[in-house]
């Protein structure tokens, strides 16, 4: 960790009063979140989890998680 990258400096940037800095971080976090969700839902399905199990773990409805991820898995031939 370089001198410019100490936790204190990072904390300052997270709470930066410059909207551009903060909003950019939020957008990137959202994209990271979506990618991690996709990865872990795929992993759960590959390990035999039901859509209901996954929905419970994500604290959303079965319909929400199914609508979001099932089409992709069908398209990529991972499920029927």
């Amino acid at each position: 960790m370089s001198a410019e990258n100490t936790p204190a400096v990072l904390a300052g940037q997270v709470t930066s009063s410059d909207p551009a800095v903060g909003l950019r971080a939020v957008v990137s976090l959202r994209r990271l979140l979506e990618e991690l969700e996709r990865l872990h839902v795929d992993n759960a399905r590959d390990q035999g989890w039901s859509w209901q199990d996954i929905a419970n773990a994500l604290k959303v409805s079965r319909q929400t998680v199914h609508e979001k991820h099932a089409p992709r898995r069908k398209t990529t031939g991972k499920e029927n």
Partner: protein
């Protein structure tokens, strides 16, 4: 969205994402969709584009030329990675671990998303299939959808390679409507 896509159409969609990533873009635009079509030469759209003299290399060069002129960044979404570094998240470390656990390439960040225009093309693609009375979506419908939208970079790339969009549309429709021989 992709349920009715033929296998060749699905492959062209997958290839369009690969093209976007390979060119360092963090979005999938109509130009990448065009490249996806060109790269499935055995499909109807791929065949027709090949007959028009469009090669993947040419289309890629033309795409880069147009996007560079428009000032579009080709740095592989580095801004997104840097924005996370600012708040102490090391994307490369996540990638390393995800590659180890789930297999190389499964984690993609930033995963390119469709541009608004590309989404419009996908909607028009469905409409083209319906209007032709087909119950599947093939590469021919994707190409027709792109031509119907008419203003995306994909169509500009075709224009730059000397392909007339209106004439191309007629060619595709003639091919699709011709009785199977």
């Amino acid at each position: 969205m992709f349920e009715k896509f033929t296998n060749l159409a699905k492959r062209s969609i997958t290839l369009s994402q690969d093209e976007a990533i390979a060119l360092g873009h963090d979005f999938i635009g109509t130009e990448h969709m065009l490249l996806g079509l060109v790269r499935v030469p055995e499909s109807i759209a791929g065949q027709i584009l090949g007959e028009q003299g469009v090669t993947a290399d040419q289309a890629r060069r033309q795409t880069l030329r147009l996007l560079e002129a428009a000032g579009v960044s080709a740095n592989g979404g580095r801004e997104a990675t840097e924005a996370l570094a600012v708040i102490g998240i090391d994307v490369e470390e996540i990638r390393r671990r995800a590659d180890d656990t789930f297999g190389p390439g499964r984690f993609k960040f930033p995963r390119p998303g469709y541009t608004r225009r590309a989404k419009t093309v996908l909607e028009l693609t469905q409409r083209e299939s319906i209007e032709l009375g087909h119950d599947y979506i093939g590469t021919e419908h994707l190409l027709l959808g792109m031509l119907a939208e008419g203003e995306g970079v994909g169509v500009q790339v075709l224009g730059g390679l000397g392909v007339d969009p209106a004439a191309l549309r007629t060619t595709v429709l003639d091919r699709v409507r011709a009785p199977a021989s």
